[in-house]
Amino acid sequence: MLFGGWSNGWLNDFYSLNVSKITGPPYAVTDIVPALGQLSGNVPVTIKGVGFKDANIKVIFTCGKTPVDAPSKMSIEVTGTFVSETEVTCFTPNYEAFGPKDAIVQLSIQGGDLTTTWCPFTYFMNTRAYKSLAYGPGLLGEGSVGHPTEFIIQARNELGENRKSGRDNFQVRILKVGDNSEIPNTLLDKDNGSYSVKYEVPEE
């Protein structure tokens, strides 16, 4: 705000400049984990930052790579949950209207301005089990008894493209033919769209 005068005479004017769009609100976002999620949304994410308050938190996902001053028609809003002054959680919105694209994540608290800081978030096409595949010695004949074996699950999306990130949920059950007893296995998410499954058959 600015006012002033000259030689003991006030000019009787008063100027104000709203700098909140530049300085931003008293809260800011710095990171989002994970920074990518499936197109259908509903992925739990944690937004990190400063100055969060336990009030009405709105998280805005805007399609594109540029932050906005106010939500636009390219934005989808979800409710955030306060965790601490530095953490807010939310579930990502369904982004099928925009497709598998980059988004900018900002938030506002109690109807205040959107953060001037933002985090990028990438939407990818959902993994489809019926497009995914598995291969490796652990799925072949004549494996060796008493030694660990392995196979790879390659996640693919609707277009049959290999997925490039992890966090899919695969349930693997290995059963012995005959008594249907379960053979334990470990599944390793390689975070590149492939998953390694290891198991060992103790006897022939």
């Binding site: 019926y130 995914s132 598995a134 490796g136 072949l140 494996g143 008894v145 349930q171």
Partner: protein
Amino acid sequence: MVHVRGSPYKASFKAASAANFNNLTGPAMVKYISSGLEELHSFIVETTKGAQTKDKNIQDVKTLISVKDYVESVFQQTDDIILKIDCLEESLKMFQEHGIGKDNQVKQIKRLSDEFANLRKLAKDIRKEITPLVQAEKEKTTNMIKKFEEDLKVYTTELKKRDFYQYKTGTQEAKARLSLVGDELKQFDDRIVDLGYNATKFDNPDMI
């Protein structure tokens, strides 16, 4: 819960197998890749040849059935073949990442993938080409079965008028005549088999 393509899988184990058979790039995988490529190649070559109508007399019902079978096998096995190609591609990619991939095999799987795409197109075209003939044969088979049914009824009725039904024919003579009936019944059986085969191949197995 949706199953991953190809699931459930079956694996088997032997005490006699070497430990390195379980390695991702071990001999089991090497064999899997080479035999997989070979199987795919054979399937594509054989089916392409079988599904062609060029230089074939598709007016002949047996030839038509053979072409139809090859064409249908492409449609029936498409998902399995695509899965096999995908698995081989991924396996070869993994071998390359380990620095032991063979370029000729990578080229071969790409070529096979293209060839299978061509085969699918061919199957689609041939299916369109033979559909009127198949439909005609289907109707023909239906009529033949109806005719066969009538023949059988007439034959059964006439059978009762034969000599061996007459007391005066005598045992020896009646037996001799009956052996001829056996031959006639065999002809009917053969026709049943033929018509049944055609009815099955022309998608009407219950007709017979």
